[in-house]
């Protein structure tokens, strides 16, 4: 015991001076967080309890906005469903797609650098241009996809004009946009120790077995990170609704962030929009919490934890 105690004292002195530096370094970030994140969050909560329209001074109305949202609001239910539906298919789709592409790009193929750039490019294109482009592909009467379908003698699909196709159609764009995930996966794949693969190959493991039992477990921390980032980004989806569908048809793409935008900056019900914002925050927090809670079960830590 004593042998352990002595160095610990020494370490705590190091800790305290290191801690000082750490705290000093953290101050700017903390200030940013407090003034740009936490205070506004409480501000939103406060305003959500008023009927502020921006024109007259706000009156305190208690939880009326929340009651209205959950009883008479014609949009919120559809909106939550649409958002979660979109996020789930987009996240699953883009995870599978980007891991697959990353593995292909991790092989020694000719012009590998070029292909890596090709798959990353969609991510850096300006969003408005992307959606205008896709709107021409998806257009219901003369769009490119429908042109192909009618050339093949098939029935037209009203991709973004039909309430049952709109979310999958928009998710497809979001999957196509997942270039950032590919890059992160690629970095992760390069950290999978090659010795494991060599050893497994010696033991006669086939490609799938090596993927299932080596690549996948080694990648779980990266998968977790990508999953989290992609889930948060997709739950906050708003651009496709703003640039393509205006929330339609029939609320099928009235995502929560779009709904909030509409309430706040089209209808000027600021208090009401703040209540919606707070609900979005709670939903996001819930999803993140679930993901973190379950993460311990499936994330493989290299070096292991010595519990």
């Amino acid at each position: 015991m004593e042998a352990i105690n002595k160095p610990q004292k020494r370490r705590s002195r190091i800790y305290s001076s290191e801690a000082r530096v750490a705290y000093i370094c953290l101050i700017p970030a903390f200030l940013g967080l407090i003034f740009l994140t936490y205070l506004p969050l409480f501000g939103v909560l406060g305003i959500s309890l008023t009927n502020w329209t921006g024109l007259k001074s706000p009156e305190f109305i208690g939880f009326d906005n929340y009651i209205k949202l959950f009883t008479t609001d014609p949009y919120i239910k559809d909106s939550i469903i649409a958002t979660i539906y979109f996020a789930v298919i987009s996240v699953i789709g883009s995870m599978i797609y980007s891991l697959f592409i990353a593995m292909l790009l991790n092989r020694k193929i000719p012009a590998r650098g070029f292909f890596r750039a090709v798959f990353y490019v969609p991510y850096v294109l300006p969003a408005a241009a992307i959606y205008v482009g896709w709107s021409w592909l998806y257009e219901g009467n003369f769009g490119f996809f429908n042109y192909l379908l009618s050339e093949l003698g098939l029935k037209k699909i009203l991709f973004i004009a039909d309430s049952s196709y709109v979310v999958p159609s928009l998710s497809l764009i979001s999957v196509w946009l997942a270039g950032n995930l590919i890059v992160i996966f690629l970095a992760g794949l390069q950290n999978v120790p090659i010795v494991y693969h060599e050893a497994a190959e010696m033991d006669g493991a086939n490609g799938w077995q090596r993927f299932r039992h080596i690549t996948l477990p080694c990648m779980t921390p990266i998968i977790f990170y990508n999953l989290l980032m992609s889930l948060i980004a997709n739950l906050q989806v708003v651009t496709p609704a703003l640039s393509l569908t205006n929330g339609g048809p029939s609320n099928s793409s009235r995502f929560m962030t779009y709904l909030m935008y509409d309430q706040a900056f089209v209808n000027y019900k600021i208090g009401y929009a703040c209540a919606t914002t707070f609900i979005i925050f709670v939903i996001l927090a819930a999803f993140t919490a679930v993901l973190f809670k379950t993460s311990g079960k499936w994330i493989y830590n290299e070096g292991g934890d010595d519990k």
């Binding site: 921006g54 014609p74 037209k156 205006n246 048809p249 000027y268």
Partner: protein, 471 residues
């Protein structure tokens, strides 16, 4: 190690210190610029007051770029020079953030004296006591704006439209000539009934093999040219609800009438152009680019939309060779077109409402908006331009417009006929809420998943709630 740490701490403190200094500098900079404007005002004010009698300063806000702002300021300068009591300063705010900015200014009690306001904001702002009564503006004037252009809240005129706009039927003359079909009528007496309209549209709809709807072997999946497209943005749909004997609201805007069979049937007929008659392309009524998607894209022979398109898009298409004409809308039971136009208002926060009205009245005379009017984007608001032929010719006879006779009959006369009805935001509150909800309710009607009857009846309570602002 130790020195390294010290160095680290030193660097951090230095960085912090610099950032603090940076903040300080920024702060000073802001302060300087903040104090600068009152400062210059302070130096200006005595100068003007000493030169002449004191001029009342008025701020007029408008949407548009800084460039458009300085064009308007040049007009205002003429006004400023023409008299010695009022000095107008123009404040241009980009369109996208215009209403947001005004909201912020209203909260801070810093609204301009007068300015433009989006159509659907006028009654809402009136109901919150933000606008002045402007009924007295044209008292004793020789020419007043058309009656349909006054925004009314509780019987009082709270604004006049800055421009006039009505809904028309545009058509592609080449497509009509090719199919050997007579043009749509430009005069109201000869307006087509809905059935005549649909029949004509069928003749102009061709599939890949050149077959028309209703003919043996016609394939609705391979249409290459559509006969007609009726704009289904929610606010424009009111035309067909009213024209079929119903409406969105009662005449005073207090009751919701969209649940009535006549209103629903009017809307369903528009949807059926695509679903049953197969003469129209699918449109889900969410984007405001109808004419670009139809007439200008060259895929549709006839399309309804607002008169502003003459100046916003059709003039360039015309230069590029598009041969289009204008006609009056077809009708179901009553001949109806809607008119609209963004408003010019006097804010109640203004300390100089009289002077603000005087400026608006001067500014609203068409000579001062000539660029917008002669390009075809705005139509004049004052009656005299519609009644006095020399003035009408001055307005219409220029290369931006379709031929004089056609435009005179299908637009100028149409706009002052009994068919022209003010869009609901001239007298009804919460039209944004109502139209947003209606647009969402009708989403599945356009694709035929549900009927207008089911969609509207199911959401009637919500629509009524939206109308009262209690959604």
């Amino acid at each position: 190690m130790k020195t390294g740490r010290k160095l680290g701490v030193g660097l951090v403190t230095a960085a912090l210190a610099m950032s603090v200094v940076g903040c300080g500098n920024n702060g000073n900079g802001n302060n300087a610029s903040n104090t600068a404007s009152p400062g210059t005002d302070a130096t200006k004010a005595p100068a003007t007051s000493s030169s002449k009698t004191e001029k009342v300063k008025i701020i007029y806000s408008m949407w548009g770029s800084a460039e458009e702002g300085s064009t308007t300021q040049a007009v205002a300068d003429k006004f400023n020079a023409s008299q010695d009591r009022i000095e107008v300063e123009v404040q241009a705010i980009p369109w996208e953030s215009y209403m947001t900015k005004l909201n912020t200014l209203a909260t801070a009690d810093q609204l301009p004296d007068t300015g433009m306001l989006k159509e659907d904001g006028v009654i809402q702002w009136s109901s919150q006591g933000m606008l002045n009564d402007v009924s007295s503006m044209y008292e004793g004037s020789d020419s007043k704006p058309l009656d349909s252009l006054a925004y009314k809240y509780q019987g009082k005129t709270v604004a006049y439209a800055a421009a006039n706009e009505i809904l028309l039927l545009y058509y592609n003359k080449d497509m009509f000539d090719k199919a050997n079909v007579p043009y749509p009528p430009s005069s109201l007496d000869q307006a087509w009934t809905w059935d005549e309209f649909v029949e004509t549209a069928k003749k102009l709809t061709n599939d890949k093999k050149g077959k028309h709807p209703g003919e043996e072997g016609f394939d609705s999946q391979s249409i290459v040219q559509y006969g007609a497209s009726v704009e289904n943005l929610p606010w424009q749909l009111e035309t067909w609800a009213i024209g079929n004997g119903g409406g969105f609201y009662s005449n005073d805007g207090t009751e919701v009438r969209i649940g009535e069979d006549a209103s629903i049937e009017g809307i369903q007929k528009v949807a059926d152009l695509y679903l049953k008659d197969h003469v129209a392309p699918l449109s889900v009524g969410q984007t405001d680019d109808g004419i670009q998607r139809t007439i200008i894209a060259g895929t549709v022979a006839m399309a309804t939309n607002g008169a502003w398109n003459v100046g916003t898009s059709l003039n360039t298409a015309k230069e590029a060779g598009l041969n289009y004409g204008v006609a009056v809308l077809p009708y179901m039971k009553d001949k109806v077109t809607l008119n609209t136009g963004g408003a010019n208002v006097v804010f109640s926060q203004s300390k100089h409402p009289e002077e603000a009205m005087e400026w608006l009245k001067w500014y609203n005379s068409e000579e001062n908006n000539w660029a917008l009017i002669s390009s075809g984007i705005w139509m004049p608001t004052l009656e005299k331009w519609y009644k006095d032929e020399t003035l009408t010719r001055k307005w219409v006879e220029n290369p931006n417009f379709p031929s004089y006779d056609e435009y005179k009959s299908a637009v100028v006369d149409y706009a002052q006929s009994a068919a022209a009805r003010p869009a609901s935001w001239f007298y009804t509150n919460n039209t944004t809420d109502f139209n947003t909800l209606l647009g969402s309710v009708l989403g599945d009607v356009w694709t035929g998943k549900t009927t207008a009857k089911d969609a509207i009846s199911k959401n009637l309570d919500a629509l009524k709630a939206a109308h009262t602002g209690n959604q």
